[in-house]
């Protein structure tokens, strides 16, 4: 069963000076990312960018689990979707402000993550993937039938509302800055988690779980906390997305969404800092540009999956990092 670990092999780097926990190369990349975030809405369609950022959050949250702990969840759509439904319900029916709606959605996704994570971490590897998939499928049936989700119609016409009660998010540009801020917050939070002592233990679990156990760490507790964090952040992504589009529907909880976020992370680079974001950009852009091509979209996605698994296991960012001999 032993084999090469799921992550891109990090390039051995000597002692490097770090800026806020980022290596020099990462810091440069971070600045480029900030610049892109500021400039992009003036050239590209803001709604498209917001969708991209929401999926970037989702993929980063997912990467926290697969890239840093080595746990492959095949059911992350459940947390993404529940976050979306709850946020949409809070904003539409209870009339809460957008930030509160997203927080409530994220918290419920976290609670759900706690329960499912507790069940799933009893098994490892492939079983873990299958269990998370089956549990997510239960959530799908729940969302299909629960009265508040509106069944197959979904929750429609969700208002974007007023941030903190007074900044209207209805204009696309205002909403964009809000979503960008949420993304940056999540991105930095994940970076902070990964570089904390807690994050170091997670990486130790990924590399060699029995050894970490023998060092006295209760690995199951660590895995569970990581699972909950990842689920919560996936809930943030889902909630933000439902406010951007004003809808929350079954597609967000369908298992193909779980496959998609896995694809994004894989394309970008497992266990890289910027990979999930790039992967999300590639896949979302593909869905948009190739909408004309109908069923070929799934075929192309399949081809990309296979290409990544067979030839580019490091992903786009991982390969670039490898070429430049830096860790990104």
């Amino acid at each position: 069963m032993a084999g090469q670990s799921m992550t891109s092999s990090a390039v051995p780097a000597g002692p490097q000076e770090e800026i806020f926990g980022f290596t020099k190369a990462q810091f440069v990349a971070l600045l480029v990312m900030f610049a892109a975030l500021v400039v992009a809405p003036f050239f590209l369609y803001p709604v498209f960018l917001m969708k991209l950022l929401c999926f970037a959050i989702f993929a980063c949250a997912f990467n926290l689990l697969i890239g840093y702990v080595g746990l492959t969840s095949f059911g992350h759509a459940a947390y993404f979707g529940i976050g979306g439904y709850i946020a949409a319900h809070s904003a539409k029916v209870w009339g809460l402000t957008p930030e509160l709606s997203i927080i409530i959605g994220a918290l419920l996704a976290g609670v759900q993550g706690a329960i499912f994570g507790w069940l799933a971490i009893r098994r490892q590897g492939i079983y873990f993937a299958m269990i998370t998939l089956a549990l997510a499928q239960m959530i799908y049936f729940f969302c299909l039938q629960a009265p508040f989700t509106g069944g197959e119609d979904g929750i429609q016409a969700v208002p974007r509302g007023h941030l903190f009660g007074f900044i209207s998010l209805a204009p696309d540009m205002t909403m964009y800055w809000f979503v960008a801020a949420v993304f940056v917050a999540c991105f930095l939070l994940i970076h902070r988690i990964v570089h904390s002592p807690f994050g170091q233990v997670l990486k130790a679990i990924r590399e060699n779980e029995p050894r970490t156990t023998s060092l006295g760490y209760r690995t199951d507790d660590y895995k569970l906390v990581a699972f909950i964090l990842s689920a919560t952040l996936a809930g943030v992504a889902g909630g933000t997305k439902s406010l951007v589009f004003g809808i929350a529907t079954l597609t967000d909880v369908h298992w193909s969404m779980s496959g998609e976020v896995l694809l994004m992370t894989l394309v970008g680079g497992l266990g890289t800092v910027f990979g999930p974001m790039i992967g999300a950009a590639v896949i979302v852009a593909m869905q948009n540009y190739l909408a004309e091509m109908g069923a070929w979209v799934t075929v192309i996605q399949g081809v990309i999956f296979i290409a990544c698994v067979l030839a580019f296991r490091r992903g786009i960012v991982g390969e670039i990092g490898n070429l430049l001999r830096v860790r990104l």
Binding site: G3, I126, Y127, M130
Partner: protein, 294 residues
């Protein structure tokens, strides 16, 4: 009329029987998964797509070449099994040294491609496929009408499962297989061509899925997404049974079919979720599955 738990007894017997038929499909599919997993350490996500291919190839044989059900029962698994062999040789064989999650990802990608191609080619409304004349009609069992074809499905599935089990447990080839599962390099050292055995095993597992597909073609709608929903349930079946034993996966398949059938009588709304709920309970009580080794 006698009643059991408020349900007329004839209806209940009928449902038990129907559950058994569904179980036959679960058993055949989880058997294929278990065989592949046993030797290749890969969860074959494209199993559902290959099940669908089996049904479609049967339809294509009839539609383009006029070849009927009985030949399709042999030809379709062979053809689909052959595509499996090609897949294994060209792609899957590159992954054995890696974490086996990559196998899951690869086969997931393969299933996306297969389903996408079939959807492009044949649309999604489904294709007509009729029950062969020799098996049409129904028996009057007293408590219900039992279509002959359904009886055939159960008998044939049982036959297939038992044959597979016998081959693996009782023959020389099966002994090699089991040995290779434990320690491939050692078996190779004894002069057994292990890579070829692995290839053929994958082909055989895929052929089993295709066979189930041919069996399903006359009774289920033959459409590109027919395997997708089924495969997730079969995953749950596999988790419940544990993939340690061939017999275990077969028994679990039939058993869960019956449980599901009963749910359809007592609380139909839950019949799709009941298997997942059982999975949760089994995980709490026996994390390794009913027949699994921890």
């Amino acid at each position: 009329m006698d009643e059991i738990f408020g349900i007329p007894a004839p209806l209940l017997f009928g449902q038990l029987l129907l559950g058994l038929i569904n179980g036959a499909f679960y058993a055949m599919l989880s058997l294929g998964l278990a065989v592949i997993f046993g030797l290749l350490n890969i969860i074959n996500f494209s199993h559902g797509a290959q099940f669908m291919m089996g049904a479609f190839v049967a339809w294509m044989l009839l539609h383009y070449l006029g070849i009927g059900y009985w030949w399709a029962l042999i030809l379709s698994p062979l053809l689909v099994g052959l595509t499996g062999v090609i897949l294994e040789r060209t792609m899957i064989c590159r992954l054995y040294k890696l974490d086996h999650l990559y196998g899951l990802l690869l086969t997931f990608g393969i299933s996306l491609i297969i389903e996408g191609i079939f959807r492009n080619q044949y649309g999604s409304s489904g294709m007509p496929y009729r029950i062969p004349t020799q098996l049409s009609g129904a028996w009057d069992l007293g408590f219900m009408f039992m279509p002959v074809y359904r009886g055939w499905v159960v008998v044939f599935a049982l036959f297939t499962c038992i044959t597979t089990w016998l081959v693996i447990e009782k023959t020389r080839l099966g002994a090699y297989l089991r040995a290779a599962t434990e320690n491939a390099p050692l078996v190779q050292a004894f002069g057994v061509n292990v890579p070829r055995m692995i290839t053929l095993t994958y082909g055989a597992g895929v052929a089993l899925a295709a066979l189930a597909g041919v069996l399903a073609a006359p009774i289920y709608s033959v459409n590109p997404q027919m395997g997708t929903n089924l495969i997730i349930v079969v995953f749950a079946v596999v988790v419940i049974g544990g993939m340690g034993s061939i017999l275990g996966s077969v028994l679990t398949g039939f058993g869960l079919g019956i449980v599901e059938g009963l749910t359809k009588v007592f609380y139909p709304e839950a019949s799709a979720t009941v298997i997942f709920i059982i999975m949760v309970i089994v995980l709490l009580a026996r994390p390794a599955g009913l027949f699994g080794r921890a």
